[in-house]
Symmetry: C2
Subunit: 474 residues, 2 copies
């Protein structure tokens, strides 16, 4: 159990001192997000103080958004940290919480703009269930045959047809490697390309890339971006070999890389043999407005682009199917070097998805999804578009995909974030995706995919109340 | 297309020379297993020789088991290589073969004793389908909630209950990490334990371990075994930190590690901080005879054993679900270091399996499976137990699990293997699992799980015919 020395509280009252001890431990990461605090009673007994004192300290922490309470369960630490923090329910625990507890905790948020979770209502349960049933009855033999390491031909063919039709990409099934999520495929790529290369991680960017490099023990460099995307001279200067980028919709800034920068990037890659571009097209299917820009892969004539995409954004974050398209010479190396690996996606899901794509259900689903997100997008953008709201908030990069940046006009964005959290609204500051601290703190990445209109409306009202009443405006 | 210079055939006839050229390319691995050879006609035209000549060369190669023909399709290279060879249909090809072609090829074998594929008839399709339907209708909300990185609590709890009941292991769900196959979990372990450790790979053993180490760029050493299992002094001598072993049923020799060696191994591990044992319990569920020996994990009091197991053996090799049980201090490190990874098994399969285990279906399935394999085992062992058969074949290590070693009394085991292959019986020589060449060649690893009785009977008859008529006996 947490223990603090309360013999010297200075000028603070006992409860203030205790509140500061816990707060500092949360800020320092000594107590992780989702961790349960001791019960008021047990804590008081352990520290030799009154229950009223622990209660007051906890109430202060709740009010400031450091912890939250679940009735009949206890007090839990909020996720306020930078970068990757430990997921709720995973850190503590010789006796882990039941999934129901975890569900209860997650539902505690009125609105969670930091979540990349897909919306339950949008998963095509009926047609997906029907497809599973068909596969289970029609394809028993295929279901029991080991999948080739790159995935079943059925799924890979469905993917190549899809890429041809919707991304105008001419690739063969041979080049497509299916795997259980993009993170897994990055691990495979590191094994394929080798430990000696230097990986370029966009800053700001998808922070897991750096984590994956680190845990594989390969070197990586942060590379800055400007309004057109990744800075090519910096790639040169930092001796990067392999750069990860999302030209269609940069994460998290939402920047769409113009064609000139794309060619500059391709030109960089062709200058040396061991240079590659990983094009992460993670949400191109959900692009709501504007013309589709051709993928880097489709304008690459030098086998320099590794294209990646995923079904976790369009189907469900809980269906773990992603794929990459390797240039031909890398595909050959893959089969030579890594074909000993079994495909990580089970046949049951591979055949279900292949059928779902081949019979047109995926296309219908995408259309439905785009319409749905478009409505949501228009709704939330319109909400921010009143003269009152404009004095507090500015939306940036709202044109592509299903998240946008929100600038909050406040001098104390951390306090704003905490106050929102205390009211069960979770926000993800943009600086979380930055390495170093060169960025203003008052921009938040707003992911609204998992949120209903009513929820958004309530959340916006609360955010406005917070900024109107509590937070000093610039 | 293949091209050879046929201007100087020496004393060979043209067809003999061509046959040798192709054979040498197959043996050298220049033409991979499953690769399609040019059609007789096109090949003849390309080389400027007669169709009869190419046909004769191909016929010779078929007779010797280097290639096989599929009617109306063409000639394909057999899998005769050592160790890991390229999977059929994956190497060649800007225009990959359809899955149907691949199916047709695989069915070409009358009996494939080298396959670890599970038998289609034994997959519990009816109850599995029912369970999926229940999950799809009852658990839509849970299906859409991101799984914790180690797996859903439902599945992890089902696994801990199973381990308690059947392996007498006391572990918490917190220690269980679910992943898409054992190979994937090894990759995670390497990331968890670090690149600087030396991994011990049993020789003979599960050859993928060395492949995984190699492709992760970590150092590894082969460690010999004797009749009791891995040689502990060799671990010391070679400065191994982490050793992979299967005490319950060594792969491929079938050795069961006695308790004395288990304690010797544990004692080795406790001598230094950075020493661990990976206990791969891959087929303990299928142990057919004899008493279960306690797992290393359950007699380990020093947090030195990482326990691994899989559902790919008992459900289907095409369902990619495995798990590991980490010692508490490693579980803590895992959550700290690697919890940014999403779980690689989709929620749909996690919840289906959890329910399948919790409602007793898995236990029933295992009982059914054991009975079934027991019958098969008894059948094949009995077949080999006649005085005629005994003069040609000796079975070793038949007590545990679902494969055994077959010693063939012949001076020319390669020829025996080739003659069998020409008759569509695929055998896996034990030396394939050895690093180096210190082993006699006349022992084969016989995996019979995917085979029916009739098939086994036919195969044995052909193997006996081959050895009686063609191969010199010792």
């Amino acid at each position: 159990m947490l223990t603090y020395n309360l013999t010297n509280t200075g000028s603070d009252s006992l409860y203030e001192y205790l509140y500061k001890c816990i707060r500092n431990d949360i800020l320092a990461g000594n107590i992780g997000a989702g961790e349960k605090l001791p019960s008021k009673r047990a804590f008081a007994k352990n520290l030799g103080i009154s229950v009223i004192t622990t209660q007051s300290a906890y109430e202060q922490l709740v009010a400031e958004g450091y912890i939250y309470s679940i009735p009949k369960s206890g007090y839990y630490v909020c996720d306020i940290g930078e970068g990757m923090s430990v997921t709720k329910g995973q850190k503590t625990g010789k006796s882990p919480k039941s999934q129901n507890d975890i569900l209860a905790e997650k539902q505690e948020f009125l609105a969670d703009f930091s979540s990349n979770q897909t919306e339950r209502e949008m998963f095509p349960f009926t047609i997906w269930s029907k497809t599973i049933r068909e596969v289970l009855s029609d394809s028993q033999m295929e279901l029991m045959m080991n999948s080739p390491c790159g995935g079943t031909m059925e799924l890979r063919s469905a993917i190549t047809s899809y890429l041809k039709e919707f991304r105008n990409m001419d690739v063969s099934a041979h080049q497509v490697i299916v795997g259980a999520g993009t993170e897994y495929l990055y691990g495979l790529l590191i094994q394929l390309l080798g430990n000696s290369l230097c990986y370029g991680v966009e800053n700001p960017g998808y922070s897991k890339i750096a984590n994956i490099c680190k845990s594989h023990g390969v070197s990586y460099q942060y590379v800055g971006i400007d309004r057109q995307g990744v800075l090519v001279p910096e790639l040169e200067r930092k001796n990067v070999n392999v750069v990860h980028t999302s030209p269609a919709h940069h994460f998290p800034t939402g920047i769409v890389m113009p064609v000139s920068r794309r060619y500059e990037l391709l030109s960089w890659a062709t200058k040396e043999e061991k240079r590659y571009i990983i094009e992460d097209d993670y949400d191109s299917e959900l692009r709501l407005t504007g013309k589709m820009i051709p993928t880097l892969q489709s304008i690459d004539v030098s086998e320099k682009v590794i294209y990646m995409n995923t079904f976790t954004k369009t189907l469900s974050s809980t269906v773990r199917i992603s794929y990459m398209v390797l240039p031909l010479h890398l595909a050959d190396q893959f089969y030579k070097k890594l074909s000993f690996y079994s495909c990580t996606v089970s046949n049951f899901e591979q055949y279900t998805l292949a059928r779902f794509m081949a019979n047109g259900s995926y296309e219908k689903h995408l259309n439905r999804l785009r319409n749905y997100y478009q409505k949501k997008h228009d709704f939330i953008v319109k909400k921010f578009d009143t003269s009152e709201m404009k004095s507090y908030f500015t939306i940036h990069e709202q044109d592509a995909g299903v998240h946008f940046l929100l600038e909050v006009h406040t001098k104390n964005p951390e306090e704003f974030q905490r106050q929102c959290l205390a009211r069960r609204i979770r926000l993800a500051p943009l600086r979380r995706y930055y390495h170093g601290d060169e960025i203003e703190n008052n921009i938040f990445v707003m992911n609204y995919t998992a949120m209903g209109q009513e929820q958004m409306e309530q959340a916006l009202k609360i955010m406005t109340d917070v900024i109107k009443n509590k937070i000093p405006v610039f």
